[in-house]
């Protein structure tokens, strides 16, 4: 299991980008992923292939309405231990 963070930023469409962020989140929700938006991006949990597909589709979807898009994907994967959003939060004392 992979925990990831995604941020999709249209840089040609004025300072208010929430319309695009909502569109990206709608794309993530179509996939078999846990989707947890926060104020600076969205945390995803699931299979790596699924995450890459969702990232690509969200990026392309936003690029349809914007001349330029800067998208970031951060992937955290480990093989020694179960890796989930829940376990990571528990490990730092948040339940």
């Amino acid at each position: 299991m992979v925990v990831a963070e995604v941020s999709i930023v249209p840089i040609g469409e004025g300072p208010s980008v929430s319309k695009y962020v909502k569109k990206a989140i709608e794309v993530f929700k179509k996939y078999n992923l846990k989707v947890e938006p926060h104020a600076m991006g969205t945390v995803l949990e699931g299979d790596l292939e699924e995450i890459l597909e969702a990232f690509k589709e969200a990026h392309r979807e936003v690029l349809k309405d914007s001349k330029r898009v800067l998208s970031t994907l951060k992937i955290d994967e480990r093989t020694d231990k179960e890796n989930t959003i829940e376990r990571k939060l528990r490990a730092i004392g948040i339940e």
Copy 2:
């Protein structure tokens, strides 16, 4: 007001880093900031100077116990509109 995201990663101390992340969060809480940890980093809200000080102290604190630290700070600041965690989440339909 600035909304920011911080991630502090010790890369020389084995795959489990929650001990260090907890230490960084303790540092953030000493400052006059809103502190919201998630599974891939911590969202901060407050004054830019305060955020930079907190970032520097957390980075240095973790470096005391780790040979190498990779720290990331992302800053979102705007002048046209109030910029808070709450407003950003409301804009994407999360309250």
Copy 3:
């Protein structure tokens, strides 16, 4: 054409990670991409699908030798103008 930046960081294998970075760069070079490593990551230029494949393979290759890997991919794509490493550098006065 997409300009991207990749960083692949093993976090369980001690503070020296150049062995893993070299392995990731070898993976990138197998693809039909421009590959330009710098001191904090590697800039790639090419087709989006190709970049995503290269990112996935490099991440997995490093995960074979490390218990935990943190990989970051940043994608810059625009539809209004040619987007290449060369044009981007020229635009900021570097040739």
Copy 4:
């Protein structure tokens, strides 16, 4: 010594941002830092305090001409070994 990477992105001023990037690079050059721009950001080398000051000034300088700015700073610091751009590049076989 710290090796860092900075990216300053105005998100409210249209898709072409090179004018702002050039302004940020001019700010970095006023400081006692090695400054190496690449196609996706700028690599800096120097003292941590100096890097944080330069980052803050570049961010604020760009915010004067743009309604919203998203700035990212990544810091790589280690205590076991000399940490410079040159040594990092040499370690991955680039001179």
